[in-house]
């Protein structure tokens, strides 16, 4: 017989822990627990102190922002601080804090006025462009803005073959006859030249000393990628790529500091649109750039925010493949243009922030022709035209591709799909990464897709729109003509137009070129789009100019 003391019945396993827990706490345990509790309370207090600090900062910085600091959030990050080597849409926001061009667009117009130059003369007969510089301007490194510095900057811009260099293609040589006169000798007339000195991507003047000291093999591009030495109202204080940029006042700015200017400018990069929206609504920032369209539309009803709504130079198009397939037939493209519901697009999808385009240029842009034919939504007519072209009932397919990040393109694809279904055309939609999208369309051998595209000008000339989107020489990766449309007649008229010094004749030629492409319909000319920018209702001095889109002149702003 076994001794129960040696072979107790197997206990319930779970009750071992229960039994353990029922035991009274020893003094050591009690002291250990008290100590742990004390540490926890200290830790929580430390975190609360950090939060409390943030709360105070939040309130404080909000107050400070209103008076002295301009804070902007941006949902898109810049490429480089070097103003001469990029045509991206995000970097100019930073360039304009530190750098200035010789010329600028006046107010909200495309009239060119002096900035660092106090006067200029363009002589088409002599093929010269002469700048007379302001005598009292210095760079932030103390060196003077003089003719030699301007000459070096122009030569640098041409040599790097990046940025606005293409607008300076007629520059033959540059002379500096005295310290404040620059003579640019030209090989001929180009209607984009002057705008190359005023554009958002135009020639911004960098300190000649900085260019010389850091020239290296790449014309100081490596150094200027993260350093800035200009004549502008602010100096770069700190730059963290993809994070933030901060600028402080340039005390020696030539225009002075009379008036209620901001003393500091902060730009914060936010990858999530809800963050940018929240910060603006809470008053932590004054401007929110690059928010998605649907977010901006919903902010229009917020009382704590003002959303500007200005006609811009942006135009939306839907490109149709013109080289292969049924849409290589002009009549089919015209039919498709009659099959698109423009009212639904502008009033519903774009929330009333656009008007139907008439031709390839925006309505408020020089050279726009109000007599151009305009396609209207007429599905019956579209079906008859398709039948006459040999596609009775449609019966073919199209693929619409769009890239991530353009919020209007998916709805465009969906509307296009719905409208084409009424014509018997099947449209499939595919989303691609930006690089794959452009790689697919720029491959001339295989590109055969419909796509949405927005265009905005870098130079205030119709050539900017017409060459890039329609010229034969702009097909594939050479430009942005991904429809592969080609019309020798159009090319001929366009080349004559850009080289025509007489403005009246030039605009007549541009009008003729527009008429050709409207007739040939390589794109559905969707809409002229307004520019909506959410900002604080307390912000003053903002004046929209379509040539300076997605950037501001912080010197002109105040709270």
């Amino acid at each position: 017989m076994t001794d129960p003391r040696h072979h107790p019945a197997a206990p319930d396993r779970g009750s071992l822990i229960d039994d353990l827990l029922r035991r009274p706490m020893s003094r050591r345990d009690a002291l250990a627990r008290a100590g742990a509790a004390g540490l926890s309370i200290s830790g929580i207090s430390a975190i609360a102190a950090a939060c409390g600090g943030t709360n105070a900062n939040a309130g404080g910085s909000s107050g400070q922002a209103a008076a002295k600091v301009l804070t902007m959030t941006s949902g898109a990050t810049p490429v480089t601080l070097d103003p001469g080597v990029s045509l991206d849409g995000q970097s100019p926001l930073l360039w304009r804090c530190v750098y200035e061009p010789l010329l600028q667009f006046k107010g909200s117009t495309i009239d060119v006025e002096p900035r660092l130059a106090q006067a200029y003369e363009l002589d088409n007969a002599k093929n010269t462009l002469v700048f007379h510089l302001r005598p009292d301007v210095t760079f932030t490194d103390g060196t003077a803005l003089d003719a030699a510095a301007v000459k070096l900057n122009i030569e640098r811009q041409i040599a790097v073959k990046q940025g606005i260099a293409y607008a300076l293609s007629t520059v033959k040589s540059v002379e500096a006859p005295d310290d404040h006169t620059v003579v640019v000798n030209l090989s001929g007339y180009s209607d984009g030249l002057l705008y190359g000195f005023a554009s958002l991507y135009g020639l911004y003047l960098i300190s000649a000393k900085a260019l010389t000291d850091h020239k290296g093999k790449d014309w100081a591009q490596s150094w200027l990628r993260s350093n800035m030495v200009g004549t502008g109202p602010y100096t770069l204080q700190n730059y963290q790529l993809n994070q933030q940029a901060s600028f402080s006042r340039n005390e020696k700015y030539w225009a002075g500091w009379k008036g209620a200017h901001f003393e500091r400018v902060l730009v914060q990069y936010v990858s999530d649109p809800s963050s940018g929206r929240l910060e603006l609504e809470r008053g932590q920032s004054q401007i929110a750039l690059y928010l998605p369209d649907d977010v901006v539309y919903s902010m229009r009803s917020e009382k704590s925010v003002t959303v500007t709504d200005d006609p811009s130079f942006n135009v939306y198009y839907l490109g149709l493949p013109c080289r292969t397939g049924p849409t290589a037939n002009k009549a089919v493209r015209q039919a498709i243009s009659y099959g698109f519901d423009y009212d639904t697009w502008t009033k519903n999808v774009l929330n009333g922030t656009a008007t139907q385009a008439r031709g390839p240029l925006p309505k408020i842009f020089p050279g726009w022709d109000g007599t151009l034919p305009q396609y209207s939504y007429n599905p019956d007519k579209a079906r008859k035209m398709l039948a006459a072209a040999g596609f009775d009932g449609g019966g073919f397919s199209l693929k619409f591709i769009y890239e991530t990040g353009y919020y209007w393109k998916r709805p465009l694809g969906e509307q296009f799909q719905a409208n084409m279904k009424d014509l018997g055309i099947t449209v499939s939609i595919q989303e691609l990464s930006p690089s794959t999208w452009v790689g697919t369309l720029s491959n001339k051998a295989t590109a055969n897709e419909a796509y949405g595209v927005v265009w905005w000008p870098s130079l205030a000339t119709p050539f900017d729109f017409l060459w890039t989107l329609f010229a034969t020489s702009a097909q594939g990766s050479a430009g942005y003509n991904f429809t592969y449309y080609s019309s020798p007649q159009f090319d001929n008229v366009l080349n004559k137009a850009t080289a025509e010094p007489d403005e009246t004749k030039r605009m007549q030629l541009y009008a003729q070129a527009q008429r050709i492409v409207v007739e040939d319909a390589p794109y559905i000319f969707l809409s002229d789009v307004n520019y909506l920018l959410p900002m604080s209702p307390d912000l003053k001095g903002f004046e929209f100019n379509g040539m300076y889109i997605n950037s501001v002149d912080p010197y002109k702003l105040s709270a």
Partner: protein, 340 residues
């Protein structure tokens, strides 16, 4: 232990070579034109060609790979076409941010997950266990990006006690760079203002990132505590009259933590992967955000750099986990020696 270390170090270059070939092949199979994308729509063909040539995209693929690997052997990870600067410089800036976020999340996982799991295991079937279970299910069910946005709305918009995103108040200069970890650098340089700001900016993204992993560790710890708590040696300890805190501390937890350690090592990989979404929501400038931009732009050098860095990190972390495993349970080392 030494043999384990040697084995892993030998396998590391093989792993990296394999990763580099696969990543290079996949990124180049996908159609794309990063030079045209980066040059911008207004750029001329000549300008696009300048970019292509500068970044080597006009070379044959094999030549590009050979050049890349040759440069890699000299510590050169190439140049990013997106940021226009060396990838190594980008990684030096962005990787510490991810490390800081991941370490903070791991800290929360350990500090919150282990005690919750222990509580659930010790109080099985009771209110603390049910509460811990509910919390774990909720944490693992919520999508990371959703949780992050909800926390922003509550703590920033409504309560205004924590910032909405970023690493530091934009009005402040970052602390003097020593490690790139803002909290550490702020302590190192004695910058209390930057320290407070860095800590407050770290809380929400770290909690968001930690939530899912914390749930896993909690449940794993609970199960492990219950199993170990039912074992013979614990029964013997209880029978001997050893105090409960000593039983938990000396007999239950050290044994319960062994399987949890393995899971924890795997969770580090999950945290690294999950950091991408958290970095987007909180505009946290780390490797995740950098990788998202690199992939969107088909920035070959940046993609390769990020892939290689994460591979190395993952291998090292798992090696550390294995070493920790050996230290926690010497029997494993003995059995490996016997097997060898």
């Amino acid at each position: 232990m030494g043999r384990l270390l040697l084995r892993r170090l030998i396998s590391l270059p093989i792993v990296l070579l394999g990763m580099s070939v696969v990543t290079f092949a996949v990124t180049h199979i996908v159609p794309g034109d990063p030079a045209r994308l980066q040059a911008g729509p207004h750029a001329t063909e000549q300008q696009v060609e300048v970019l292509r040539h500068r970044y080597g995209y006009d070379q044959p693929l094999v030549q590009q790979y050979v050049t890349y690997m040759g440069d890699l052997l000299h510590g050169n990870l190439g140049n990013s076409i997106t940021t226009r600067r060396p990838v190594s410089e980008d990684l030096r800036q962005f990787f510490p941010a991810t490390v800081e976020l991941t370490v903070a999340a791991m800290f929360i996982v350990v500090v919150a997950g282990l005690p919750l799991g222990l509580l659930g295991g010790l109080r099985r079937g009771r209110l603390p266990d049910h509460a811990s279970r509910l919390l774990s299910i909720a944490a693992v069910s919520m999508p990371v990006f959703w949780l992050g946005i909800i926390l922003q709305i509550i703590f920033y918009q409504r309560l205004n006690i924590l910032p909405v995103g970023g690493r530091i108040d934009p009005a402040l200069l970052p602390p003097t760079h020593a490690t790139g970890l803002y909290v550490v650098d702020a302590i190192w340089s004695g910058d209390t203002v930057a320290l407070r700001s860095s800590l407050s900016h770290l809380i929400l993204p770290a909690v968001t990132l930690a939530a899912g992993s914390m749930a896993v560790i909690t449940r794993m710890t609970r199960a492990s505590v219950i199993e170990v708590g039912s074992s013979d040696h614990v029964r013997a300890s209880v029978a001997k009259g050893i105090s409960r805190s000593l039983v938990v501390r000396r007999h239950i937890m050290p044994n319960a933590i062994i399987p949890v350690t393995t899971v924890f090592g795997l969770q580090v990989g999950t945290l690294l992967a999950g950091s991408i979404l958290v970095e987007v929501v909180f505009s946290w400038p780390g490797i995740g955000l950098y990788a998202v931009n690199a992939i969107s732009n088909l920035d070959f050098a940046a993609i390769m750099g990020v892939t290689l860095l994460i591979s190395v990190t993952y291998v090292i972390v798992n090696l550390l986990v294995d070493l920790a495993y050996l230290m926690l349970d010497p029997r494993i080392a003995d059995s490996q020696e016997a097997g060898a």
